[in-house]
C-alpha cells in the first residue's frame, strides 16, 4: 500500500511561484541490503514520479536507488491555470501510485480597493 501526503499553499494567485511538497510512503529498497537472516532484500524503488496539470507534464523525477525510504519531493511551479493535478508514480514492481488534487488559481488583482 503506497499512500502519499500532499502540501500545497491554500491560496495561490495567478503568476505566483508556489512550493509543492509530496511525501510518498514507499520502502525504496535499494537491493543492496540484507535482512536479519542474511537474505538479500530485493530492489524496489520508484522508477519515476510525474506530475501533470490538465494533462500536461509539469514535473518529473527519476529517483533510482540513491533516495531513501518514504521520500519527500519538494518542487516549485508557476501558477498559470487552475485544473486537475495528477501525481503518478511507478516502482520496480510496476505498482502505480496516484494522488489527485484540484488546483485552484485565483486571478491576480481581484480585490484592489478603489481610488481616493
Amino acid at each position: 500500500m503506497s499512500s502519499a501526503r500532499l502540501q500545497i499553499p491554500p491560496r495561490i494567485t495567478q503568476g505566483d511561484v508556489f512550493k509543492i511538497r509530496l511525501l510518498v510512503n514507499h520502502p525504496m529498497d535499494s537491493g543492496f541490503l540484507r535482512d536479519i537472516d542474511g537474505v538479500l532484500i530485493q530492489r524496489n524503488v520508484i522508477r519515476h514520479l510525474v506530475c501533470t496539470l490538465n494533462g500536461k507534464e509539469v514535473f518529473r523525477v527519476e529517483p533510482t536507488t540513491g533516495v531513501s525510504a518514504n521520500p519527500l519531493f519538494e518542487f516549485y511551479l508557476r501558477a498559470t491555470e487552475s485544473g486537475g493535478m495528477l501525481f503518478r508514480w511507478v516502482d520496480d514492481k510496476a505498482y502505480i501510485g496516484e494522488l489527485r488534487h484540484n488546483l485552484v488559481v485565483e486571478a491576480a488583482n481581484t480585490s484592489k480597493p478603489s481610488g481616493n
Binding site: R21, L23, P27
Partner: protein
C-alpha cells in the same frame, strides 16, 4: 577514618561499624534513588542534531505521520469475527488521551506486565476476535502510535508500586547489570556517559518518551522493545525472544527513570 593520635586506640569494633555503614550505602539502589535527577532529564531529541529536530517538528514531512494516518484509519476499521472496530467499544481515539503514559502496566487477569502493544494485541484477539498482529508489524505499530500520539505533550507517569514493584526492581537490576561480550550495563553509557560520543554520535540518556518512533537507520517505525533488543545487539548480549518479560520490565524502569518527560510521538531519531 578518624586520625590516629598517640592517645587513641585502634578499635576493631569501630572499624566493623564503619564497614557495615559502607556496605549499606553501596547496596542496591532503592526505588527513591535516581542516578539522573529529575531536573537533569533530557529527551533524545536534545542529542539528535538540528536536521532531525526540524524533521520531527515538521507536521507534514515527519515520516512517522504516515503511520499515524494509517493508525487512525485502522482505529475505525471493523475487523475480526466481531466485525467491530476499536472505535465501536472505545469511541473516538481522542478518548485514549492519558492512556499510554501509564504503560507498561500489570494486566490484572494474567498478572503479566503489559506494554501498550501487548494490550492492543490482547484486545484484538480476545475482544475483536481478529487475527493476531505479529510483533513489530506495520498495523500493530500504527495503532500503538495513534493511541500514544493522543497523549502528545503529556508527562510520563509510570506506576511502580503494588503489583508493578517486582517488575520495576527487575528492570532496574537489568539496567545496572553488565552483560554481553562488551560487558556493559545500560547505566554505563546512558547514565555515566550521555552527551559524549559513541563513534560519531552523541549518546542520549536512553529515554523512552518518543516511542513508537520513526528510526532513520531502519527507515520505518520502531517500538521501544525493538530498540532495546538492538541495544542488546550493541553490547553483543544474547537477545531475549520477542515478548520477553525482561523487555517490559526494563521499559517500566525507563518510564520511571524518565518521569515527567513529555510524550513526543511520533518522534524521529537516527
Amino acid at each position: 577514618m578518624p586520625e590516629a593520635t598517640s592517645n587513641s586506640v585502634f578499635s576493631w569494633h569501630r572499624l566493623l561499624v564503619w564497614l557495615l555503614v559502607g556496605v549499606c550505602m553501596t547496596s542496591t539502589l532503592s526505588a527513591q534513588q535516581r542516578v539522573i535527577p529529575l531536573d537533569k532529564l533530557q529527551s533524545g531529541l536534545d542529542f539528535s542534531g538540528a536536521e532531525v529536530q526540524s524533521l520531527q517538528a515538521d507536521e507534514f514531512a515527519n515520516p512517522g505521520n504516515i503511520a499515524l494516518d494509517t493508525g487512525n484509519k485502522l482505529w475505525s476499521k471493523p475487523d475480526g469475527k466481531s466485525n467491530k472496530s476499536c472505535q465501536s467499544c472505545h469511541g473516538d481515539i481522542s478518548r485514549m488521551k492519558g492512556i499510554s503514559v501509564r504503560y507498561p502496566a500489570v494486566d490484572k487477569a494474567s498478572k503479566k506486565l503489559f506494554n501498550l502493544e501487548d494490550r492492543i494485541s490482547q484486545c484484538r484477539t480476545k475482544n475483536q476476535k481478529a487475527s493476531e498482529w505479529p510483533y513489530e508489524s506495520d498495523e500493530l505499530l500504527a495503532v500503538s502510535l495513534a493511541v500514544t500520539a493522543t497523549s502528545r505533550g503529556m508527562p510520563l507517569q509510570a506506576q511502580i508500586e503494588g503489583a508493578a514493584k517486582s517488575h520495576f526492581e527487575n528492570g532496574q537490576r537489568i539496567f545496572m547489570t553488565r552483560q554481553g561480550q562488551m560487558n556493559l550495563a545500560c547505566t554505563n553509557c546512558h547514565d555515566q556517559h550521555y552527551a559524549r560520543k559513541l563513534y560519531t554520535d552523541p549518546l542520549s540518556q536512553g529515554q523512552p518518551n518518543g516511542y513508537p518512533l520513526y528510526r532513520l537507520d531502519w527507515q520505518r517505525m520502531a517500538s521501544l522493545e525493538r530498540r532495546l533488543r538492538f541495544c542488546y545487539t550493541g553490547v553483543r548480549a544474547e537477545i531475549p525472544p520477542w515478548g520477553h518479560s525482561d523487555m517490559r520490565d526494563i521499559s517500566l524502569y525507563l518510564m520511571w527513570r524518565g518521569q515527567g518527560l513529555p510524550v513526543e510521538t511520533p518522534a524521529v531519531r537516527k
